[in-house]
């Protein structure tokens, strides 16, 4: 036997150990040592809850919190010990739970190889030992807990600081993911944010590639929707050891995303309750920061968009100013197309304009702006880059049309596409009234024109090639589509996006208005011109009418005296004998008066052509009338041949004027043949370029017209005769023209001449009844 049992000593030792600044495990060992020494026990053990197997007697002690004493006087009976516990069954042993009313922290086991009893003071002492042991264990737990909490708090604090350190969205999200991952000691993580516009839960940040696993998306969606954090183990059959934590990010009671972590880097690789809590706390803390950053980001984007918009509007405004300053249609078009290839927000390589021609139901190429080759393109861009002036300053300098050397412009101007070709991209744009992008045409999608031989649009290099795309926008004017602008980026191959096209569309509409204005102005100019011409014509006609009236008045004034002079001269002549000298004198007076009267007649018939009345005329009747008028002039020896068709159509015209016309021609014919020869007068229906007409011919076999003077014959006051004013043929020409007819001269100098008058038929042909004249 060694030292005697000393309770005080043990108590002191226990106290000493308990308060030593040593790790808990050392302290516990030392305490057990002391107890063992004091009791001279064979074994003295401490069972922690993890080491207590379920189903054994130890467990019963642990859970019932009742001490088991097996000593001299009692026998271990009751529970069947587990195999591992077999050697704990000793002649004397005790199992004391380290517990209070609510919980146990372990079991103190002490055993002896011989039977003995536990005295009351020993029991007390052992009980004391359990208290102290428990206290140490508890204290240790507490300390651990405290450490953990402190570290968590500081980690969260760190996170909080990090989160407020930046508003840059992507940096923030990266920071969050990494910081929390390191807090949780997770190997991988996924941060998802919900896209407000599309509702998609998009991966914004990742650690590792756990997001490739489809379970991640499903899980995240569920967490987002239920707004409940989730912790799962062994949920993926493919990776049975995978452990996951997922928490929703909630701001203003709305889910904005999820934060998910995988694969804890620990043994066992499972996330525990503390990790879970940490994640939840972190998620709460950062949600509002994320929301702020999101808002900030979006605001920034919006601001950028606004800025772009503002620039575009500025371009439009400048265009407007420039377009409205010019009324010259060509200049307007050139400015518009130039801005499309150089302007801020546009800058396409080439721009081509086609306008609709309503009458032809076709699309006509009007103008194109763009380099003809890659070399020319880079030349232009380089010079633009060097020239610091903005495009806006250049507008006033833009000439009215592209240079003559522009091959592109020449090709486009020759282009002509029927609007029925509705597989043509340009035509489709017109018909649908919508912009179209045609990116990378290939296979059957190519513009049909590239396959049609001879179509000039197919000649525009690159427009239909398979390497670059092109786009078309309709040009609207006054509510309907008046044309189309086609653009492409053949030289720098920049793709054309929907947003680019939106702006171009706006631009095209502005241009459309200006173009419409330009056309209107041009029309206005034309109309103005027409009005001026009509006005001039009216003034001329009024003059002629005045002249005619004047002529009438003058003729009347002159005629009456002439009648008196001539009339009395004739009386004198008749009353004088042949040998009287006065006879000759009076004859002279008669002749001269007759001459004057003829001049008056000629003038009257020429100037009085203004006041006509158009009716349906029977040509046969008129011709017969004219012939009868000239019968006095005919001399024996002259043969007159009439060839009138039976089905002569009626003609719309003035009876008297037509009569005068034929009379003049027949008179001329008489003068030409004098007293021998033949005069033919023919009339027959005729078809002039498909329209129904009538032809009247007056032919003679006299001397014909000197070819030198042929082009003078219809001029007023041109005559080869002495006693003629030269108005005969001029009158004929005037009347024929006013009857919308034509006159031709078939001249054979020395052999005769044939005048052919063609007049449009103005009524139904009717079989000429035999009218007795």
């Amino acid at each position: 036997m060694s030292t005697p049992f000393d309770p005080d000593r043990l108590s002191q030792a226990l106290l000493r150990h308990a308060t030593a600044s040593l790790p808990a495990s050392s302290k516990l060992n030392q305490m057990l040592q002391s107890v063992s020494e004091a009791f001279h026990s064979d074994r003295c053990l401490l069972f922690t809850p993890e080491t207590i197997q379920k189903g054994g007697f130890l467990h019963r002690v642990f859970s019932e919190r009742k001490t088991l004493w097996v000593d001299d006087g009692s026998v271990f009976a009751g529970d069947t010990p587990l195999p591992e516990e077999k050697d704990l069954i000793q002649p004397s042993f005790a199992c004391l739970p380290l517990s209070d009313e609510t919980s146990s922290d372990g079991i103190l086991y002490i055993s002896f190889s011989r039977k003995r009893t536990f005295s009351p003071s020993e029991v007390d002492l052992l009980t004391l030992a359990t208290l102290v042991l428990r206290d140490v264990i508890r204290g240790d737990h507490l300390r651990l807990r405290t450490d953990e909490v402190v570290s968590q708090v500081s980690a969260l604090d760190e996170l909080g600081k990090a989160v407020t350190s930046t508003l840059k969205l992507n940096d923030l999200l990266e920071l969050i993911l990494r910081t929390v991952a390191s807090l949780l000691r997770a190997k991988g993580g996924v941060l998802r944010i919900e896209d407000r516009r599309t509702g998609e839960l998009k991966v914004r940040r990742r650690l590792g590639d756990y997001d490739k696993n489809p379970v991640d998306e499903k899980l995240s969606k569920q967490v987002l929707f239920t707004q409940t954090p989730v912790s799962l183990d062994h949920f993926d059959e493919g990776h049975p050891s995978l452990s996951v934590l997922s928490a929703p990010l909630i701001s203003n009671r709305k889910s904005i995303g999820t934060l998910t972590f995988y694969d804890k880097d620990s043994v066992p690789p499972k996330f525990d309750e503390r990790d879970f809590q940490l994640l939840v706390t972190a998620a709460n803390q950062i949600s509002s920061s994320i929301e702020n950053a999101l808002i900030h980001f979006e605001t920034f984007q919006r601001a950028r968009e606004q800025e772009t918009r503002a620039k575009q509007l500025a371009t439009l405004w400048e265009l407007n100013k420039a377009l409205l300053a010019s009324m010259d249609l060509d200049r307007i078009l050139h400015i518009a197309l130039t801005m499309i290839t150089h302007g801020e927000g546009l800058r396409y390589n080439r721009a081509m304009l086609f306008l609709v021609n309503e009458k032809e139901r076709a699309l006509r190429g009007v103008m194109a702006v763009g380099p003809d080759s890659p070399e020319q393109a880079s030349q232009i861009w380089n010079s633009l880059a060097q020239n610091k002036a903005t495009h806006l300053d250049l507008i006033p300098q833009i000439p009215p049309s592209p240079p003559d050397t522009s091959v592109l412009n020449a090709i486009v101007k020759r282009t002509h596409i029927s609007l029925d070709k509705n597989d043509c991209f340009l035509v489709r744009t017109i018909l649908e009234g919508k912009p179209l992008i045609h990116q990378n045409p290939c296979h059957g999608e190519a513009c049909h024109l590239s396959f049609e031989p001879g179509c000039s649009l197919g000649n525009i290099p690159g427009l239909t090639s398979t390497t670059s795309g092109f786009a078309t926008v309709p040009v609207m004017g006054k509510g309907k589509v008046i044309g189309v602008i086609a653009v492409d980026n053949i030289y720098n191959q920049h793709p054309i996006t929907e947003t680019d096209l939106e702006f171009l569309n706006m631009f095209a509409n502005q241009a459309g208005l200006a173009i419409e204005n330009g056309f209107l102005y041009r029309n206005l100019e034309d109309v103005h011109q027409q009005l001026k011409e009509t006005q001039d014509l009216l003034v001329h006609q009024e003059k002629m009418v005045a002249l005619g009236e004047m002529s009438s008045t003058i003729a009347h004034e002159i005629r009456n005296p002439l009648v008196s002079i001539g009339g009395f001269a004739r009386r004198l002549y008749r009353s004088l004998p042949a040998e009287a000298s006065g006879k000759r004198y009076s004859q002279t007076i008669i002749v001269e008066v007759a001459r004057l009267e003829k001049i008056l007649n000629d003038i009257m018939q020429y100037t009085n052509g203004e006041t006509v009345s158009f009716n349906e005329c029977n040509l046969r009747e008129i011709l017969e009338d004219s012939l009868s008028m000239t019968s006095e002039e005919s001399v024996n020896g002259v043969q007159l041949v009439r060839e009138f068709a039976d089905d002569l159509p009626k003609v719309r015209g003035d009876y008297q004027q037509l009569k005068q016309t034929f009379f003049n021609l027949i008179t001329n014919a008489h003068h030409s043949v004098k007293d021998k020869g033949t005069i033919f007068v023919r009339a027959y229906p005729f078809s002039l370029s498909g329209s129904a007409s009538v032809r009247v011919e007056v032919e003679d076999n006299g001397t014909g017209i000197d070819p030198q003077h042929l082009h003078h014959i219809f001029n007023p006051f041109y005559t080869t005769k002495e006693s003629s004013l030269g108005l005969g043929l001029a009158t004929v020409h005037k009347v024929v023209t006013s009857h919308r007819g034509q006159i031709e001269v078939d001249n054979r100098y020395g052999k005769g001449v044939r005048f052919i008058i063609t007049l449009p038929a103005g009524g139904t042909a009717e079989t000429d009844r035999n009218v007795s004249s």
Binding site: S552, E557, G567, M604, Q605
Partner: protein, 117 residues
């Protein structure tokens, strides 16, 4: 003997016509304007009238109308310095339209024709 009423504002024309037509064997009465012609009509009872168109006051056409209102049968010849294209609107009312000429042959033959001589 047939009687002809000559209406013309020119004195010399009246003179000439009177000389010429009396030589042809007609009795000739003269009037120097439309009003005088209408006044003389009931008393003279001409077989034919020659009317100048352009006269001061009542023009020849007007006189023609007035006469025709009373007498649709009386032959009337319009004499005018205007060329014959104006025939179209006067034709229906007058019996003939003669352009004044120093050579009165046409006038005379027209008178004879209308009087059935």
């Amino acid at each position: 003997m047939k009687k002809i009423l000559v209406v013309d504002d020119e004195e010399n024309i009246r003179f000439l016509y009177k000389e010429e037509l009396e030589e042809e064997g007609f009795a000739v009465e003269l009037a120097k304007n439309g009003e005088e012609a209408l006044e003389k009509l009931p008393s003279v009872h001409p077989d034919l009238i020659t009317l100048d168109i352009k006269m001061p006051g009542m023009g020849g056409i007007e006189v023609l109308k007035r006469i025709r209102e009373k007498d649709k049968q009386l032959p009337i010849i319009l004499c005018s310095a205007y060329s014959d294209y104006k025939q179209d609107f006067s034709t229906w009312a007058s019996d003939a339209y003669v352009v004044k000429c120093a050579d009165l042959t046409e006038l005379k033959s027209t008178i004879r024709r209308l009087l059935g001589l």
